[in-house]
Symmetry: C2
Subunit: 148 residues, 2 copies
DNA sequence: CTTGACCTATGAGCAGCACATAGCTATAAA
DNA sequence: TTTATAGCTATGTGCTGCTCATAGGTCAAG
């Protein structure tokens, strides 16, 4: 049966989208949206005709929330907890504040690690400019690394 | 049979260690050493009596090489390639230089991302201090995140 | 000889996707 | 109307670099 002529009726129930269209609207890959769907962060309905996911306006909003939270360093697991709070009608804000604080500390830490790594790498680049290449001897692999 | 009385003979063939002892000597976890062994970066021999791995001096050196390379941002896959070059008797240095260059570029990039993330997070911390907690309405989850 | 602390190898799990696969859809040409 | 085919779909698997869980082995003390 051809449902295409009936599709306009769906507007009565709100706009429905498939995964690729939704992904394009928020500028992420379809695989990312599929992944969030798979782990239950987004809960679209199924089109019983073809088993495809149908994303509604609320799923769109949910996805935007997820992406905003991601851009603030929240993990998907954090986001799940936050959404669960809100689903239970509770205020998620205190939890959100607390998680942000913790993630910020972690980000500071990994930022410092990155900075130190970057420094080491730049130092190696510099030092190695003066050093020659060598053929490995015995159980040595590369004197540049071993001698750093 | 008790082999312990024969063990001193092994010194003729060099010092042998088990995973935990080697791990302690280089200050990493035994699981890390097991992992490197599992993926073939370190190739200890097997004690045929008990199927345990026996690490020799060359494995110790190899592990130190791996850790030095890791501390310069090389991936385990990079390290595998480098070791393979050396095993074939080739000079690994040119490859090492080239990989370092690439990894440094990537580190710069992710460092910049981290810095931007950190900045966003700190900004959010600051902004949110003036904002109240709110009970979720409709399909909203947390106005702090949504309104950032 | 038995207890029990500690050790072992191996399988599985983690984040956060990206990719491979097999099969479905939709549009346009024939 | 059929057919071709481009593009879509859901789902399974792979990736990095470990860490943890499990089942069993070792070994010195009692």
């Amino acid at each position: 049966m051809n449902w295409s002529k009936l599709k306009p009726l769906r507007k009565l129930f709100g706009v429905r989208m498939r995964v690729t269209q939704l992904a394009r609207e928020v500028n992420v890959s379809a695989d990312t949206v599929r992944y969030y769907t798979r782990i239950g962060l987004i809960t679209p309905i199924r089109d019983s005709e073809n088993n495809y996911h149908e994303y509604r306006e609320q799923d769109h909003k949910r996805l935007q929330f997820i992406l905003s939270a991601r851009s603030l360093g929240f993990s998907l697991s954090d986001i799940e907890k936050i959404i669960d709070e809100a689903r239970k009608g509770k205020m998620a804000c205190p939890l959100v504040r607390q998680i942000l604080e913790q993630r910020l500390r972690e980000t500071e830490e990994s930022f410092n690690h990155q900075r130190a790594l970057r420094k080491r790498m730049m130092q190696a680049m510099k030092d190695w400019k003066k050093k020659p290449n060598k053929t490995p001897t015995g159980h040595e692999v590369c004197h540049l690394i071993e001698g750093f």
